[in-house]
Symmetry: C2
Subunit: 442 residues, 2 copies
């Protein structure tokens, strides 16, 4: 709990094991079967730990949600099993997994996550999401409920889970051979949680971990999402496209925490960002062009979308050349997509339409395409402008992206004093500078 | 699939990590915190693998079901996490976990178990139980349904899970960098399972493991349990007390398999048995007396129960001495408890009431107290009499019991030709001599 507020926090997303660009699996350096190769996943996590990254972060939706005919899957086969595998092969890095409050029973969730927290010696985080994907509801023979109902249940599930976590008293694990007392039953009590959506009696017979219990995360910026985060979350995974947007969202979240009687600093915003690192900016861009070339049809679609973003039909022009000066002046950012100003900027700087696409202007997160220094500069600018507490970094291809980030970007950040040189403690809470918590906060 | 029918199969139960006797944790050689020590659990599993044991078997009930004030817990903190931990640290041993068909959603179960099967390279088994413990229902805010309903749902959950397992075609995982086809969507289809109790659409986006999909086990001898086993199970965990009882039960199960259109040999019965091994029978018995002495009150209760088993109030006699000859002739086995004849036998042989108790006559399974040869003799007799296909072995204290079994009993069995000298293949199916299966059997 002696983290330096002038240092950013970083979690790594390897998505399904390949990384955040769903066609990089075709690159020569990619491992085409990374999806099913847990050894590789564990190796990359160990590398991330060498780089002192705070945690792995795993998004999840229990359904098939993208086109795996040509793209790599959006999620790992199973976050719980990946987290356990990594836990057994690492010592410091945190393990944050996404588990739906809608499609899990609180007792099962509480049990899985607390056990994992115990065996990882206090390194687990739970990203609480309500799941709004229809395909998931189909997998559970139901439909997606209203946002109000989903979040109503989410509050209850989290209350129930945290209550179960607290149901085994902090000092109840006696295991004293001489006296013969294994556990102090006076400290192990049912919770008898009776909500509108879920009920559970407990107790959950699992002792505390070194950090007490898992840390909560949240993702999703709706009003209900912010309230859930303000009440429970110590980390929020966010996807702003600009520093201003990010700063504003961070302030909203900090206010929400305070409204729920917590310190503003108890909530850490992790903004997502993606990267392609090479020795030069040109090489990085060439790599992204290579990946784009794998799917010309998708590129055409994206060009049409880019046209809409900049208010000009680009497909009638030479898309592999800088736009003529006269045309550049006609570009106008579409206010409906916050990524548009950046697209206009790049085209005006002389990037061709194809290169502009390759720069990642239509990605889910801001993208840095360049050298390790470019990446470090981006992170520093966002961090020092108060836009965020840290980052959820997404390499284009995990197989080499993790290595480049750890070996090239991390040393620069450490040199500049904006990233820790070692883990502050042994638990995720300590490394994120969070207060201890056990059971449901009163 | 070249297992030798003249060789027994053996799975190991470490229960919550301590073993099957809930007070052995107080012995000097015990590790008092085994419950939370995954390193120790993994080490013991590795030792079991050295002994070529076929699998670890983990019973489970998602509730606190015994008196952990003085006893070690009945179950591990979380079977899935223990199985994953072991999977990552072993290469051959199977991993059979108990997961309730009542308190899990089929999609979550299918996903967890198939993922674990993939990352363990085909070593997973699922012990299907319906869970009849009230405390569990309380943890899920419900009540225990009738047996008919529980088994009705069990059939559906297994159908749904196996259908989901088969929803990703066996050859759908293309991941060909050149063609850019990651998966063959023509082979990945929804299952649209619509039962009375559960519904799920799928598909489950997980490729087959080396054994296709996990092996099914069952436990519980009710008529409904036998039908479930006959239809789905390749392994049954049984608790007979005599060879005759076991043979009869095995025949019933084999008939049930045939009735469901399967080969009788596709169902393997694993009878549970417990042991205490020492260099001499006397030492083994002394160790059990030492454990009994930890709880004099429980011993008194057990003496009263033993009295009822043998039709004579033993508590008025000197319980630490052989019964007087005249008294021995008065003993009569209580037909309501199948363990009674053995109790009478031991008392008549001259074991004192306390020693008779220490011999384990009131245990959940038959108990062998003696040398490694005594244990081997017991296993051979049961196996060669056609009582069983194998055993689910439960050491009194796992910490040393696994070692003694592996180092002392296994070589004797191998010497006698009744236990394999090495794993037959790389998957649980191969090592159990089971046919390949993928998806729901038609
Ligand atoms: C950055 C970010 C990451 C998200 N990750 C996940 C995820 O892993 N799984 C999931 O089900 N939903 C995820 N969501 C979706 C949100 O939890 C939420 O459902 C979504 O934003 C819809 O909002 P609402 O449910 O508040 O209406 C994510 C959202 C954002 C903004
Ligand atoms: C040897 C054996 C092992 C069992 N293991 C478990 C277990 O691990 N978890 C569980 O919930 N039930 C277990 N059971 C209970 C059975 O699944 C079943 O619920 C019980 O025998 C009651 O029978 P019924 O449900 O068929 O009425 C076991 C039963 C036997 C005989």
């Amino acid at each position: 709990m002696t983290t330096n507020q002038n240092q950013m926090k970083i979690v790594l997303q390897m998505v399904s094991g390949y990384g955040g660009e769903f066609k990089t699996w075709r690159l020569p350096e990619a491992k085409a079967d990374a999806y099913t190769d847990m050894d590789l996943y564990v190796e990359m996590a160990q590398l991330a730990e060498k780089g002192k990254l705070h945690a792995l972060f795993m998004a999840d939706t229990p359904a098939l949600v993208n086109n795996i005919g040509v793209d790599t899957p959006m999620h790992s086969m199973d976050p719980l099993i990946a987290m356990t595998s990594v836990a057994r092969a690492t010592k410091h890095i945190g393990l944050v997994g996404t588990f739906s409050t809608t499609f899990n029973e609180p007792y099962n969730l509480a049990r899985h996550l607390k056990t994992l927290d115990v065996i990882s010696h206090g390194r687990v985080g739970w990203n609480t999401v309500t799941t709004s994907t229809g395909a998931t509801a189909d997998n559970f023979g139901t439909h997606i409920a209203t946002r109000q109902e989903r979040y109503g249940r989410a509050h209850e599930v989290i209350e129930a889970v945290q209550s179960l976590w607290g149901s085994w008293g902090e000092n109840a694990y006696i295991h004293n051979k001489e006296t013969g007392q294994f556990a102090d039953l006076g400290q192990i009590k049912p919770v008898n949680y009776r909500g509108e959506y879920v009920k559970t009696s407990g107790p959950l017979p699992i002792p505390p971990s070194e950090q007490g219990q898992p840390v909560l995360f949240q993702a999703g910026p709706s009003g209900e999402g912010v309230e859930l985060a303000g009440r429970f979350a110590s980390g929020v995974y966010a996807n702003p496209f600009t520093i201003e947007e990010s700063r504003e969202y961070r302030d909203i979240l900090r206010d929400a925490a305070v409204r729920h009687g917590r310190e503003a600093d108890e909530i850490n915003v992790f903004t997502g960002f993606m990267f392609t690192i090479a020795d030069t900016k040109e090489e990085a861009l060439a790599r992204r062009r290579q990946v784009m070339a794998f799917d010309p049809e998708e590129t055409s679609q994206r060009l049409r979308y880019l046209s809409a973003m900049v208010g000009l039909n680009l497909t009638s022009l030479d898309i592999d050349k800088p736009l003529p000066e006269g045309v550049r002046r006609m570009l106008q950012a579409n206010w409906q997509d916050p990524r548009s100003p950046r697209a206009v900027e790049l085209l005006q700087e002389g990037y061709s339409p194809l290169d502009t696409l390759a720069m990642g202007v239509i990605n889910y997160h801001p993208v840095v395409v360049g050298t390790a220094t470019d990446v470090a500069d981006f992170l520093q600018e966002w961090f020092e402008s108060g836009a965020t507490d840290g980052f959820s970094i997404v390499p284009d291809l995990a197989h080499d992206g993790v290595k480049r980030f750890v070996e090239e970007v991390v040393p620069i950040l450490q040199e500049r004093g904006i990233f820790h040189k070692d883990y502050e403690g042994t638990t995720l809470r300590e490394n994120l500078g969070l207060p201890y918590q056990y059971g449901l906060r009163k």
